[in-house]
Each structure stands twice: as structure tokens, then as C-alpha cells.
């Protein structure tokens, strides 16, 4: 059912605790993650280029509320218009279907080489591995995706997939795969990637992209990129397949213009991304470029289920990455421990909503509930609230004899009874006082360093 969960241990949310512990003690990773804090500062500047960013957030949140409430009408209308313009529309209920549909298109068109621009949904479906087994070569063309594809790793950020890698690591990788000299100059590395990926664009017979938005009124798909690989992928190969999920549909171009303002500022701190392509249908007669066939795959895979649940708001997400850029937990552990396609606060919620409690039930705990994510979310998803809801759900489904359940039940009992609560507080104060050192700190309890005490002290109670 969940193709990309099978193999690697690293790529599995049920190992969340093990994996974050490994990452916390990795100094190289810490350095890379620290760098990502500069997005926090640049975003602050970027949002000033509109007169009222809060109002813009309200608008985009409302657009998403409305479109998610009316998906049925929007999608039917979208499909009608897309078909009018020669788009071939496919629907898929599960990951196997997505992969099979793509393979069928590839087979029909005798495709040997596929180029991909960023697509998180095919990451979900494990498409690259699937096509590899069918002897079809897939090349990721987004620089970050290219780096991690060649180092056999999953992405660790939805906007900057190779954010965990230092330039030295990239340089080592490139010298190996490009057979070129080692350089730590980032411009030279980018240039190397340009030169080495370029032939793939011209050789490919099929291009696969995602879609940031679908526009119901015109039957269009929209992709937003900076590198230009998205445009290459939807212009050069003879077949173009866009893989998207049903909740991406909005009504019209007025809404699109507004959503773009909020997306690019939140994602990469730009007033606008370099390339916005709005694609409607296949190449027209006599046109000199463009694909002869244009397919769009509309994926459900769990979306309708989330829509009915009390975490439906996560479907408003426009994948900007602002929540992870502002998350203290993400900054400490990086993206990989989340164990599946989406990291950070939105990932904790989406992974766990899509994969279920058994596999991804630990992820909603990856938050201090500080609400930094909720404050920056461009579509006003109440991320901490949703995480609490998911924790609640997990707690309720827990076996009654589980240690966590016993402790929490006990805790909820004493915190509801002030006299018992006070009794325990007074005992705790006495123990902490007794165990305090000369500097007025309590570093351990009876010599034991557990939980809180592993990394921190408690002050001596007065």
C-alpha cells in the first residue's frame, strides 16, 4: 500500500525516535540546519513588499476554505475544460494506480528516458523505483532533487530537498558522478549540474511534473519554479504528465494571482518565483514546441478520508515549507527522522493522517506547540491544534497497559485534584532541594540522569 516505506529504515516514520536521536548528535547536520534559519529573516523582509500581509493570509485561507468545500463542482468543471483543450485526465485512488497509469503512458509512447521536475506526489507513490524496475531511466532535474537522487537519499525539506547537505558533500558527490574536479565553489557546482543535466532534457521522451494549482475555470495546471527545469520538462519531451492531488484545485485566475503572492513569499522569500507556467492542454497544431500529449493524474489516496476527518485543514496546505523553516524541532532534528515524504509540522500532520497512527503516530509529538508554524502558515492552518488532535486520537486508541497511557491517565487524575496535585508538588520540591548542588542547580535525581536531565538542569526550588 505504501510503496516507499518498505525498504530503508531511515525512511520510515515508525522509527522516529531512533532516527531523531541519531540526528541530534550529528554536528555536521546541525550546521546545515542552522543555515536554514536565514530563511526566517528573509521572509520577514519579503512579506513587507505587500501592503497588508495579514489580510493576504486571510484571503488565501478563505480561498482554500471555499475551494476545499466545493471540490466536487470545481473538479468536474476543471475536467470538462481540460478535456476541451486536449488534456487527457486520469483519476487514481491509490499509489499503485498512479504508477501503473504512468507506466502505461510510457509504454504506449515507447519511453526510455524520463525527466522529472519536482513532484512530491510521485515521491509519495515511489515512482522512481517503480520505473527503474521497468527499465525506464528517471532523472530528477531540480538541483536539490538531483543531488539526493544521486546520493540515494530521500528529500529532507519540501522546498530545498538537499538542505541537509554541505557543499563539501555535494562536491564529493559531483566529482564522483560527473568525473570532474573537486570544487567547493557553489557557483561552479551549479554550473556542473547545468551542463550535466542539459543533455537529459533533450534526450527525454517524457516529462513528469507536479502541479501547485489546478484552475477550474480554464482546466489549467500551474507550476512554480525558479530553476527553469519545470519549463524544460513541460516544453521539450513529446509527452508531459502532471501528477497532482484533488485538493489543489482553485476556481479562477483572480484566486491564482492572490495565492501566488502568498506562496512565493512564504516559500523562498521572493515577491514572485522566476517561472510560473500555466499549462492548458497539449501542443497546438503548427506550434513549434510543447508536448504532443498532455496527461494529468488526479490523485485521491487518502485525501477524501482526511477531508471528512477533524484534521481536514491540512489539505489547505500549499507546500511552501514556512512551517518547517520556523520550527525549533525541525531545526534540531532535520527532515529525515519524520520518515516519509513530508517533514516539519505539516509533515507531522499529513504523514500521520495519511499513514495512520500505527506507522506515524509519533510524529505529532514532534512539536513544542510554540505555534511559530501556525503564525507563519500562509493559509492559516492551525498546525499545533491539529497536532494536539492527532495526539488525542493516538492516546484514545492506545492499549490501556501502555506505560504512556498509565502515566498520562495518572497525570490527568492528579492535575484535576488540587490537593493531590499540591501534595506531589511539595514532595517534588523537597527531592529537588535535596538533590541540588552548590551552584543551586539540580543536575540529576539520586544520581540518575533521565528525560529532562539528560541535556538540562533544573534550578533549585526556593
Amino acid at each position: 500500500m505504501i510503496p516507499c516505506l518498505k525498504k530503508k529504515m531511515l525512511f520510515n516514520p515508525s522509527n522516529f525516535k531512533k532516527n531523531y536521536n541519531k540526528n541530534i548528535n550529528n554536528p555536521g547536520l546541525k550546521k546545515s540546519l542552522f543555515r536554514s534559519r536565514k530563511i526566517v529573516d528573509s521572509r520577514k523582509i519579503a512579506i513587507k513588499s505587500v501592503s497588508d500581509f495579514e489580510l493576504l493570509r486571510n484571503y488565501s485561507s478563505e480561498i482554500k476554505n471555499n475551494s476545499i468545500s466545493n471540490l466536487y463542482e470545481l473538479l468536474i468543471n476543471w475536467e470538462k475544460n481540460a478535456k476541451k483543450n486536449g488534456t487527457i485526465v486520469h483519476w487514481a485512488e491509490n499509489y499503485e494506480d498512479v504508477n501503473k497509469i504512468i507506466y502505461k503512458i510510457a509504454k504506449k509512447n515507447k519511453v526510455k528516458n524520463v525527466i522529472k521536475s519536482k513532484s512530491m506526489l510521485t515521491e509519495e507513490s515511489g515512482l522512481n523505483n517503480y520505473l527503474k524496475k521497468k527499465k525506464i531511466k528517471v532523472t530528477e532535474t531540480d538541483l536539490g532533487e538531483y543531488i539526493i537522487q544521486n546520493s540515494n537519499e530521500p528529500p529532507s525539506h519540501i522546498i530545498a530537498p538537499a538542505i541537509h547537505k554541505s557543499k563539501e558533500e555535494v562536491s564529493e558527490l559531483f566529482s564522483r558522478i560527473h568525473k570532474q574536479k573537486i570544487t567547493n565553489n557553489i557557483e561552479e557546482l551549479t554550473q556542473q549540474a547545468r551542463e550535466n543535466i542539459r543533455p537529459h532534457f533533450f534526450n527525454a521522451d517524457m516529462g513528469i511534473t507536479g502541479a501547485n494549482f489546478l484552475i477550474s475555470d480554464s482546466g489549467s495546471t500551474v507550476i512554480v519554479t525558479n530553476e527553469g527545469n519545470g519549463r524544460m520538462t513541460n516544453t521539450l519531451p513529446k509527452v508531459h504528465v502532471a501528477v497532482t492531488s484533488i485538493e489543489k484545485c482553485i476556481s479562477n485566475f483572480e484566486e491564482l494571482s492572490l495565492m501566488l503572492r502568498v506562496l512565493t513569499r512564504s516559500a523562498t522569500s521572493q515577491n514572485i518565483s522566476n517561472y510560473i507556467s500555466i499549462t492548458t492542454g497539449k501542443k497546438k497544431q503548427k506550434e513549434l514546441d510543447g508536448p504532443k500529449e498532455f496527461h494529468v493524474i488526479l490523485m485521491d489516496v487518502g485525501r477524501t478520508k482526511i477531508l471528512e476527518s477533524d484534521t481536514w485543514e491540512i489539505l489547505k496546505c500549499i507546500r511552501c515549507g514556512a512551517c518547517m523553516n520556523h520550527c525549533p524541532v525541525y531545526h534540531t532534528i532535520g527532515g529525515h527522522p519524520y520518515g516519509w515524504v513530508y517533514p516539519g509540522p505539516m509533515g507531522a500532520i499529513l504523514n500521520s493522517s495519511l499513514l495512520g497512527n500505527k506507522i506515524a503516530g509519533d510524529l505529532p509529538y514532534a512539536s513544542t506547540l510554540c505555534n511559530q508554524c501556525g503564525v507563519v502558515c500562509p493559509v492559516k492552518i492551525p498546525l499545533p491544534e491539529l497536532m494536539v488532535k492527532l495526539r488525542n486520537k493516538k492516546f484514545k486508541s492506545m492499549n490501556i497497559f501502555k506505560f504512556e497511557k498509565i502515566i498520562l491517565t495518572f497525570w490527568s487524575f492528579i492535575s484535576k485534584n488540587p490537593s493531590i496535585f499540591n501534595f506531589f508538588v511539595s514532595i517534588t520540591r523537597k527531592i529537588l532541594k535535596l538533590q541540588a548542588n552548590k551552584k543551586n542547580y539540580t543536575p540529576s535525581i539520586f544520581g540518575l540522569k533521565f528525560g529532562w536531565f539528560i541535556k538540562r538542569f533544573l534550578p533549585k526550588p526556593k
Partner: protein, 206 residues
């Protein structure tokens, strides 16, 4: 049952009303209140790492293009949009408007300029393909002064004067500066897969 009918059936059965019904967008409250669109367009284009120049007539356009290719040590091969190949380009240039042949410079006009973000709007057609603004190392885009509008909404409105919304051209593309990335250590680098340089020529008329 097909996947399509299953999904649509589920969606039809889920009754949601999360949005406000009387919701209206007032873009004027969002977009900064600038007076002169051209000045703002120019400033934003430069912020997007474009080179911005002006030209009065075709002679000046020729001169600016020549200066540009000399400054970058390019040959005189130009990959030009079919729609503008009939302009009086200087005989010094070798003009190709068919299949891309590794020219270093692509020359296009554009549908309009968007002042708010310094973007150029392109619409694909037989005479205005997408390759010229994508494949060459440098892209020269000619924009008529009168075609600079305030916002993306205005750009769409201008487009929909002639087009019916359910019959769009294959691609509408907004380009805002040369291609760039920050995928290695979040360090911004100009010139990845798309053009490394974008020269915007604002002209009185074409």
C-alpha cells in the same frame, strides 16, 4: 466502478461548508500603491537580477542587442521569435526562428510586463514559442512601454479581452529574472537550467 466515479462520489457525499459565502477579495489593499508603473517595473526587474535598458526605435534595439552580445562575447547568432523576425534587425545578426540550434541568445517580445513584481508575461502560440525564452544562455525580451500593466490580475484581464477562458493557449508563462537556485547551502546562484542573463528592453513601440 472506476476511480473517477469513486472519488467523485465520495466528494459529493462529503458536505462541507468551511468557507464564508460573502467573501470578496480587494486586491487594492494588498498591492503597494505605486504611481508610475514603468518606474516600478524597472525597479522590480532590477531586483529580480534583470538588466533593464530602453530603446526608442529598431535602430536602438539593434544597438543594444549588439552591445549586449559583444559584452558577453557571444556570436551574432540569434534565436528569434517568428512573430518579430520581420523587424528590421541589423544584417550583422544571423537570425534563426525555427528549431533551436545552440544559439547563445534568444530574442522575444512579450505579451505584457507586470509592474508589481517586475515580471514578463508570455503566451505561447505558433509565432511565439516557449523555447526562445528558455533554452539559450541569455534572453532578450522586448516590452512595449504601453504594455506594462500594474498587477498580474491586470495581465490576465488584458489577455481575456480576446480569449475565452475555456479555450486558452497552451501555455501562459510569467518570467521574473534569470533562472536561479539556492539548493546548495541556501546560497543563491543565478543561472541553473534556464537563461543566465535576462535583458529587458523597454521600447516606445514595435
Amino acid at each position: 466502478m472506476s476511480a473517477r466515479s469513486n472519488i467523485l462520489k465520495k466528494l459529493k457525499n462529503i458536505k462541507l461548508s468551511h468557507g464564508k459565502k460573502d467573501f470578496k477579495i480587494d486586491v487594492k489593499k494588498i498591492v503597494p500603491n505605486f504611481k508610475n508603473s514603468e518606474t516600478f517595473f524597472r525597479a522590480k526587474s532590477i531586483e529580480n537580477n534583470c538588466i533593464v535598458e530602453t530603446a526608442k526605435n529598431i535602430d536602438e534595439i539593434n544597438e543594444k542587442i549588439l552591445n549586449f552580445i559583444q559584452a558577453n562575447n557571444y556570436s551574432s547568432d540569434l534565436f528569434v521569435w517568428p512573430s518579430i523576425k520581420t523587424l528590421n534587425f541589423s544584417p550583422k545578426f544571423k537570425i534563426n526562428s525555427k528549431k533551436y540550434n545552440n544559439e547563445k541568445v534568444g530574442v522575444t517580445s512579450c505579451f505584457c510586463g507586470i509592474a508589481e513584481t517586475g515580471s514578463l508575461m508570455f503566451v505561447s502560440s505558433e509565432a511565439t514559442p516557449m523555447s526562445q525564452s528558455l533554452l539559450p544562455e541569455s534572453h532578450i525580451a522586448i516590452v512595449r512601454r504601453g504594455d506594462i500593466v500594474r498587477t498580474m490580475e491586470d495581465g490576465f484581464n488584458k489577455y481575456f479581452v480576446e480569449k475565452s477562458i475555456d479555450r486558452l493557449d497552451r501555455q501562459i508563462c510569467f518570467i521574473s529574472g534569470p533562472s536561479r537556485t539556492a539548493d546548495i547551502e541556501l546560497t543563491m546562484v543565478i543561472g541553473v537550467h534556464g537563461p543566465k542573463r535576462l535583458l529587458t528592453l523597454i521600447v516606445d513601440d514595435l
